[in-house]
């Protein structure tokens, strides 16, 4: 792998093509896996990404930058490197980046999941020599239920709240999770409202042709309003702020893979935690690695050491790419900023 990609303080650098994959700092040329801000860094001069993510990436990056988009599966040559994008199943337009130099293939998964998600293309295995995989939930305590079961409990919660005359506040990241949640909500139960940061993401999804139920921007409602029985999808950073006061009696819930553990749920101090993740869980991480069948696995972003050790003990060469753990809130740190920019979180 080292001949193609090097780990540098700016992120993973490909010298042959003179670009970074998911840089950590602003660089001249960035190849990005998806539009979340811990992968698509604001302030780069140019971005190369998968075509289905175009609307999202343009929404989140500076319009001064140069953009180039490739359909899934198509390849271009940058320097001596053949670059192509393959569905990662994480959020709309998320991709695994395949880099090929003289027959040697490196795959950067970015964030990915194997489970169903109607708002993006499903993950596809890519055979490779080196696979750089995330491990956000790389411990055997993380096993996701099928999403139908999770949505059944979310809708059940909504129905009960409606009967009790409460307003549901459902938290998810502004881009990706929120739209997946919307796609799973049952709009026959009641009206769906969205926080500004979520609403922006919804626009990009709709423009990309993803079917989502009808939503109303919370900011467009002025004066007294009856919020009983309504569903409000918002970013987690509004929890406990004055912004939520307008809804009267609420029941709050967070949708995230972290909610699998009771302690994480209680720290959030939300009423309900729904375990719904856009990352691979333990069994699907192992399935994905077997399907891509690399000679070497490089583990990053999460429980890297544990995953690398487990793979090594089971006869697959595996190393830790970097020791930086991932903790709850890393991904939505950007959401908090965004919601402030939106001017919605006011005292």
């Amino acid at each position: 792998m080292e001949q193609i990609l090097q780990s540098t303080p700016n992120g993973m650098y490909c010298a042959a093509g003179d670009f970074y994959v998911d840089p950590r700092l602003p660089v001249a040329r960035a190849v990005v896996t998806h539009a979340h801000s811990d992968h698509a860094r604001w302030g780069c001069e140019s971005y190369l990404a998968a075509k289905p993510g175009e609307n999202l990436l343009r929404l989140r990056m500076s319009s001064d930058a140069r953009f180039e988009f490739l359909p899934y599966g198509d390849a271009i040559t940058v320097g001596g490197v053949r670059v192509s994008f393959h569905p990662a199943g994480h959020i709309l337009g998320s991709a695994q980046v395949r880099l090929e130099v003289r027959g040697h293939v490196v795959l950067v998964t970015g964030d990915y999941k194997l489970g169903l998600d109607p708002t993006c293309d499903a993950w596809e295995p890519v055979t490779c020599h080196s696979m750089i995989t995330e491990s956000t939930f790389g411990l055997p305590i993380y096993r996701w239920q099928p999403q139908e079961m999770v949505f059944e409990s979310i809708n059940e919660w909504w129905r009960r709240c409606r009967e009790e005359g409460k307003c549901c506040l459902l938290y998810g990241y502004a881009v990706g999770k929120s739209q997946r949640l919307l796609a799973g909500l049952d709009p026959t139960i009641g009206k769906i409202y969205c926080h500004g940061a979520v609403e922006k993401g919804i626009g990009a999804y709709r423009r990309s042709g993803i079917a989502l139920p009808e939503t109303t921007y919370v900011g467009s409602i002025s004066g007294k309003h009856d919020w009983r029985g309504a569903m409000v999808v918002a970013v987690p950073s509004v929890h406990g702020t004055a912004w939520t006061k307008r809804f009267g009696r609420t029941s709050t819930a967070m949708a995230s893979g972290w909610m699998a553990v009771r302690g994480a749920r209680r720290r959030r101090s939300v009423d309900r935690g729904f375990v719904l993740s856009d990352h691979v869980d333990w069994p699907s991480l192992l399935t994905a690695i077997d399907a891509c069948n690399p000679e070497t696995v490089w583990v990053t972003h999460g429980y890297s050491a544990a995953v690398a050790r487990y793979l090594t003990e089971n006869g697959r060469e595996a190393r830790v790419l970097d020791g930086r753990g991932r903790i709850e809130g890393d991904e939505d740190a950007a959401d908090a900023q965004e919601s402030t920019l939106e001017g919605e979180v006011q005292p």
């Binding site: 411990l139 553990v261 009771r262 302690g263």
Partner: protein, 531 residues
């Protein structure tokens, strides 16, 4: 069992007392008496004796999940709760028919204890195959004995009282002491009829509120409305003399049998129908109370040796009388109870059973001066009690006050961190602090509490970014953070590297203004040792 698992989840899902209360009342209203009895048992904090060694549970769970044991431990450190780790790590099962809580406990869980290892393994694996995640969590908590959910015994008591339509002090009293969780017991618990108390049954303890040190006692009002006595550092207990027998209960509602033979024999002198509230103290003669560390030597022993009995003799210092000549006198004012207590104790003379001495003064200033002598007396401070108050159930405001001496404080450097448990699981919240000894930092105390959530998050980030080494779950970090620690007591110890043990160390504040080199030295700590 589904019903009980739902109750657990309903309580766990909310932080509001009223919602917890209504979930409990609903449950008690719909559960069978046998189920309600077991639910009361577990919710009130009682547990089953160990059914299966946890070492084996870990092993079997790792086998079922097809993972090595180090990965189980890694997961456990991340989750911070054993029952939950076991629940999450074994692939979920399908729920079979739904046995009641009582049937689960009596037919599936309790028999585990008598089985051999192979039978236990088979039973536990079967149980895993038959339980989906939420139900399994509750069952694993019952098996590991770590069934804690966010309700106190007093909330459970209130819920039962509301369900039964009786006074909660009555329920509280009926729940004291030893009882068996049976349908019949629960019927008695909710009965509107007045019942005979069991000879052994203690009364619920009255508890004190702390006087805030900054505000001082003046806010309580006129000092002449109060009595003052030493707040000793011993074991709170109730001595019961009924039906020619003696029972000694701890505040944790342990019946302490054969532990305190001196006090038991002294209590034989009391007339039947007497209940005393007081403190068990190590004491060589009337005026000299031994430090708690001495008494501790006797706490660990079921039966004390002759040598130890001689080395650490104990005395029961009675400060209240709850039952007098068979009459429950808790509703009388303290002034009257105290008078009766003194009259009663005057009739018996025994070195191991005495009454506390009230401290004269009657003004806050003179009591403040007395309080300053606490440390040399091996006392924690003063107790302040209202003359006209009845003996209340639990921590009722305004009746009893504890006026402790200010704690010791010292500035120390954080050098090790470990992830916490429960609500704090997965976050570095358990810290080890060190003091300077020449050029090196010597660990001397662990502290778990005192920071608020946002400070904990900052320390958590710091630990992740500044880890030097990991030893299992413990990380050593760059010595950079200085915190002010407070503690109640200090003594020499051969088990601690620093040679010193501190009592109840906790964090007072994060000293952002101090660099690690500004922290205190071990010599500074040594100076605080009693002469």
């Amino acid at each position: 069992m589904i019903q009980f698992a739902n109750l657990y989840n309903a309580i766990d899902a909310t932080t509001k007392t009223n919602e917890k209360l209504s979930a409990l009342i609903n449950y008690f209203g719909s559960a069978s008496h046998a189920d309600a009895a077991w639910a009361t048992f577990f919710l009130a904090g009682y547990k089953l004796r160990q059914l299966v060694p946890t070492k084996l549970l870990r092993l079997w769970a790792a086998e079922e999940a097809n993972i090595p044991s180090w990965l189980f431990e890694e997961s456990y450190h991340s989750v911070g709760d054993l029952a939950e780790t076991l629940t999450l790590i074994v692939p979920p099962g399908e729920s079979a028919d739904d046995l009641s809580l009582a049937d689960w406990v009596e037919e599936r869980l309790m028999p585990l204890r008598a089985m051999n290892e192979a039978q236990q393994r088979q039973a536990v694996v079967t149980l895993w195959k038959q339980t989906p995640t939420p139900m399994r969590l509750v069952i694993m908590k019952l098996i590991t004995g770590a069934f804690r959910v966010g309700v106190s015994k007093s909330i459970v008591t209130r819920a039962i009282a509301e369900h039964a339509g009786i006074d909660s002090d009555v329920v509280s009293h009926r729940l004291m002491g030893n009882w068996k969780p049976t349908g019949k017991f629960f019927e008695g618990l909710i009965s509107k009829e007045i019942q005979d108390t069991l000879a052994s049954q203690p009364y619920p303890f009255c508890l004190a509120h702390p006087i805030e040190l900054e505000r001082g006692p003046e806010s309580l009002g006129d000092a002449t409305d109060f009595a003052a006595e030493w707040k000793w550092d011993g074991i709170r207990g109730q001595v019961i003399r009924r039906a020619e027998q003696v029972f000694i209960w701890s505040r944790g509602e342990d019946l302490m049998e054969n532990r305190w033979p001196e006090i038991e024999s002294a209590a034989q002198l009391l007339p039947n129908g007497t209940v005393l509230d007081g403190e068990i103290l190590g004491s060589r003669d009337a005026d000299q109370v031994l430090p708690f560390s001495q008494l501790q030597k006797r706490i660990g022993r079921k039966i004390a040796s002759k040598k130890l009995l001689k080395e650490v003799p104990v005395v029961f210092q009675a400060f209240d009388l709850l039952q007098d000549a068979g009459e429950d006198i808790r509703s009388l004012p303290f002034r009257e109870r105290r008078k009766r207590l003194e009259a009663l104790l005057a009739t018996i003379e025994h070195p191991h059973l005495q009454g506390t001495k009230l401290i004269d003064g009657g003004s806050w200033d003179s009591w403040a001066k007395t309080r300053d002598l606490s440390r040399e007396k091996n006392a924690e401070g003063l107790m302040i009690k209202r003359w006209d108050a009845s003996y209340e159930v639990g921590r009722v405001r305004g009746v009893w006050w504890k006026w402790k001496v200010s704690p010791f404080t010292i500035d120390a450097v954080l050098i090790y961190a470990q992830k916490g448990h429960g609500k704090r699981s997965g976050v570095y919240t358990d810290y080890t602090f060190a003091l300077w000894d020449g050029e090196s930092l010597v660990p001397f105390a662990k502290a778990y509490s005192g920071l608020d959530d946002s400070e904990i998050n900052l320390v958590d980030r710091f630990v992740r970014q500044n880890t030097r080494e990991s030893f299992g779950p413990v990380r050593s970090v760059a010595p950079a953070l200085v915190m002010e620690l407070a503690f109640e007591g200090i003594q020499r110890s051969t088990r601690h590297k620093s040679g010193i043990a501190t009592r109840f160390p906790r964090i007072v504040r994060w000293r952002h203004d101090k660099k690690p080199e500004d922290a205190n030295t071990l010599a500074d700590l040594m100076e605080m040792l009693p002469p």
